[in-house]
Amino acid sequence: MILDTSDRSMRMHIGIRSVMVATCAALLVACGHDSPTQPSSHDKTVRPSVPGVLTVQLTTPHSDDAALLVTVNGSGISDVQAPSGMLLHVRQRGDTVTAALFGRIASGEVLHFSVPDVNDAAHYTAHVVQVADSTNVVRGDVEGYVVTVER
């Protein structure tokens, strides 16, 4: 994959945001003693939620994909975005987000979205529904396409 400067900038933005989220989480832990609802230290250990961004990675067998219809399932999905240069339309129904992506579709990240807890990344799934080539012809099958949700 060839990334351009926009991609690098976005990745830097995500890193800073992750640091800020971690800092906030530490502050919440530090202030937890003042909270009447804070579990006692002798309760079992609860892994703290880590809000963050997950990405949908596409592996395509073709080089002329021009439109992609995918669904992403998982709770608390928000702020679905596509890499720069893509035209994205999204509809969300419950835990299912359906996204239509138009542009030059290639292997790599095709979407990213925010989730309440990036640690639950494994609970997020994505499926390729339709793929059209640059002549608008829909692929007869999408078995060769692989999409994964990654942190």
Binding site: A66, G76, S84, M86, V90, R93, Q130, V137, V138
Partner: protein
């Protein structure tokens, strides 16, 4: 045989030879004695009976240089062989024939020399002109001397000299004004003189054999009456001599004679008038003195045409026309042309072939306009015979005509009566409608290729169209033309005139584009090319049917891509089933024309503007119409399109979805490829983006997620804005 017997036989033979020779010599002498050649001036004297309608033939005489009269007996065939009376009258001739001198019927009756004519030899010059115009000119002052003579055994006279002087005066009506008027002022008898009554040297029976009232001795009457007046008359001052007698006769007579008087021998017009003569009789007989023959109807009657004083001179007393000095109708145009009273410029002789519409002015008291006064229409060659046509109106001496009309005559200058009225009804009356051609009526002689139509009536004449030749009238009814070997292309009404009888003409009918030829009528029939033999005037009509007219119930509206479209075409004109087709251009993809119903239907698959020519055919009719059909794309909201694609809702109609599919990959349902095509089509997605140019970055900001408006769940993930 003995010697004596033989001698006797020889004597008998000699005797027979002598007798035979003597008989032959006698016969030869006798035959020679009966043959005679007489030279002199030939004159005709017309015989006009008081009653009856069939006069004797004119009396023909030759007057030699010594003033001797020889009556000629000749039949019509001999006369016509010599060129007719026109070629002989008042001409110097040499006549061969057999002498038939009659013996005097009594001791008081002079013998009349006569001969049966076998041949003529005209020794005076004759005109070779084929024109009648002024062929016997009668111009200027032509005074007559009227000599009143009574028989030695009869005292009573019909009228005094002053009455005859009044007749010959110039007051209207009267013989004097008559000639001045009917000649259009070109000839008059002013200066005429009446002398007498003189007493003849012989009684009535001397001049009429046995007092029969027939067959007068013209020679004796003329010379004795002229002798009686000789002291009072200078004959050299007069053109004609009217001999008025006080006795009855079966006829009045008019003609000419050679007379030697006052040191001059010349031809005079001469009449021999009985005691019952009238001004009309005067006019008629004076017409003969001008060399005019009778005219007539076509019924072998002489005095039946009321169109000519030279046929019917009885009007003044048979129809009680007042006053008694009424003369009668004028003469026909032929006589006026012969006299030079109608100039050549006012006589139309139409060439062959030709068609002309002209004004035919009245021949009596004509206006000074430029209209023709006579049509002279040759039947074959220009030398005759002809038809003449003239306009007759109620004016002047024509006030008592049978009617106002164009009157036709056939003219043959070799006939005893040159002009015969054309009377088509054959009812024996040449004075009724059958002889009167009025507006709307057409005379046609198809054998000779002559047609004359009276087109209109004017205050002073008639408008006529005269055609020489065989007219082919064509009419193309409807959208088409008649083309032919002689006529070029004819649309509407047209005609042509052909100059050869029996000429063959081939006509074709050519319909205009989209129209149809449905058949001929008239002289042609069927639907193919038509060949005519022009044996007469012919009229043909080619019938064409107009092109079909195509109408549409919605053809001029817009069709929408992806939406069902239907338009019913209708054709008007003709009958039967209609076949429809696209003649030019193409309907939008997805639409088709039902060739049987004329319905354009289907779902337009591509937007655009289409120019299509539709053709309808019904029987042999064809109609075409070029139409503009525009297929537009539906205007869709982007949100609706995405909702439809992403399954959030179904806001699009079936037609909209079909449109998107047609715009995209046409696989029968909406998919991401279709939406991509629509985005490109609407400009939302730049078409360049489809290229595999990875270095290019779209400036367009990504679309943010949008809440699913169809969900019942709380909007926990509201739409974010960039």
């Amino acid at each position: 045989m003995s010697g004596r017997s033989l001698a006797c036989a020889r004597c008998v033979g000699k005797a027979l030879l002598v007798v035979t020779a003597a008989l032959c010599a006698f016969a030869a002498r006798a035959a020679h004695a009966q043959q005679r050649v007489t030279s002199g001036w030939l004159h005709a004297i017309w015989v006009d009976p008081h009653t009856g309608r069939t006069p004797p033939a004119p009396v023909y005489v030759v007057i030699d240089d010594a003033g001797r009269w020889t009556r000629l007996s000749l039949d019509d065939a001999t006369l016509r062989a010599a060129g007719g009376l026109s070629a002989l009258d008042r001409r110097r001739v040499s006549v061969s024939g057999s002498v038939i001198t009659s013996a005097p019927t009594s001791s008081t009756t002079p013998a009349i020399s006569a001969m049966r004519v076998s041949s003529f030899d005209v020794t005076s010059s004759t005109s070779a002109s084929t024109s009648v115009v002024a062929s016997n000119p009668q111009m200027g002052s032509k005074p007559y001397v009227a000599i009143l003579c009574r028989y030695s055994d009869s005292v009573a006279v019909p009228y005094s000299a002053s009455v005859y002087a009044q007749w010959l005066g110039t007051s209207f009506p009267g013989v004097g004004s008559y000639w001045r008027e009917i000649s259009d002022g070109l000839m008059g008898i002013e200066g005429s003189k009446v002398v007498g009554w003189y007493t003849l040297p012989h009684p009535y029976s001397y001049y009429f054999a046995n007092g029969s009232q027939q067959d007068p001795n013209f020679d004796a009457l003329l010379n004795d009456c002229a002798d009686a007046a000789d002291a009072d008359v200078d004959f050299t001052q007069f053109s004609g001599v009217i001999l008025q007698f006080n006795g009855n006769a079966s006829a009045a007579y008019g003609g000419s004679a050679t007379l030697a008087r006052d040191g001059q021998t010349k031809t005079y017009g001469v009449t021999w008038m009985p005691n019952w003569s009238t001004p009309a009789t005067f006019a008629h007989e004076m017409g003969h003195t001008l060399g005019w023959t009778h005219s007539r109807g076509p019924y072998n009657q002489i005095y039946d045409s009321h169109w000519d004083v030279m046929s019917y001179p009885y009007g003044s007393y048979e129809t009680n026309i007042s006053p008694s000095t009424w003369v009668g109708e004028q003469t026909i145009a032929l006589n006026k042309a012969i006299a030079g009273w109608i100039p050549a410029s006012r006589i139309l002789i139409p060439p062959m072939p030709s068609s002309q519409s002209v004004m035919l002015e009245r021949s009596e008291d004509p206006t000074s306009g430029s209209g023709y006064l006579m049509l002279q229409i040759p039947m074959s060659g220009d030398g005759g015979p002809w038809y003449t046509a003239e306009a007759r109106r109620f004016v002047g001496y024509d006030a008592h005509l049978p009617g106002e009309a164009v009157v036709l005559h056939t003219v043959d200058m070799t006939r005893p009566e040159r002009a015969w009225v054309v009377d088509v009804d054959g009812n024996g009356d040449p004075n009724d409608a059958g002889a009167m051609w009025t507006p709307g009526e057409t005379f046609n002689d198809s054998l000779n290729g002559i047609t004359m139509t009276v087109d209109s009536e004017t205050p002073t004449g008639f408008g006529v169209t005269v055609i020489r030749g065989w007219r082919l009238e064509m009419q193309a009814m409807g959208p088409g033309a008649i083309t032919g070997s002689t006529s070029g292309s004819c649309t509407g009404r047209c005609s042509t005139v052909l100059g050869t009888r029996g000429q063959r003409v081939t006509l074709s009918a050519t319909p205009n584009a989209g129209a149809a030829f449905t058949g001929w009528s008239g002289a042609c029939s069927g639907t193919g090319a038509c060949t005519l033999a022009m044996l007469g005037n012919r009229s043909v009509t080619a019938h064409f049917s107009a092109a079909l007219t195509i109408a549409s119930d919605s053809m001029h509206g817009n069709a929408v891509m992806g939406a069902p479209f239907a338009d019913t075409l209708t054709a008007t004109g003709g009958a039967g089933r209609t076949a429809w087709s696209v003649a030019k251009g193409a309907l939008p993809a997805g639409l088709s024309l039902d060739s049987a119903t004329g319905i354009v239907r289907g779902i337009p698959e591509a937007a655009g503007s289409y120019t299509v020519t539709i053709t309808a055919t019904r029987d042999s009719l064809t109609g075409s119409q070029t139409i503009q059909l525009t297929v537009v794309k539906p205007v869709l909201a982007a949100a609706n399109v995405m909702d439809q694609l992403l399954g959030a809702a179904t806001p699009l109609s079936t037609n909209d979805v079909r449109f998107l599919d047609l715009l995209g990959n046409r696989n029968g349902h909406l998919d991401v490829g279709d939406v991509r095509a629509w985005l490109i089509d609407t400009g939302t997605l730049e078409s360049s983006h489809v290229a595999s140019d990875s270095a290019r970055v779209l400036d367009r900001a990504p679309t943010t997620p949008r809440a699913d408006r169809t969900t019942n769940e709380p909007r926990h993930n509201p739409e974010q804005r960039p």
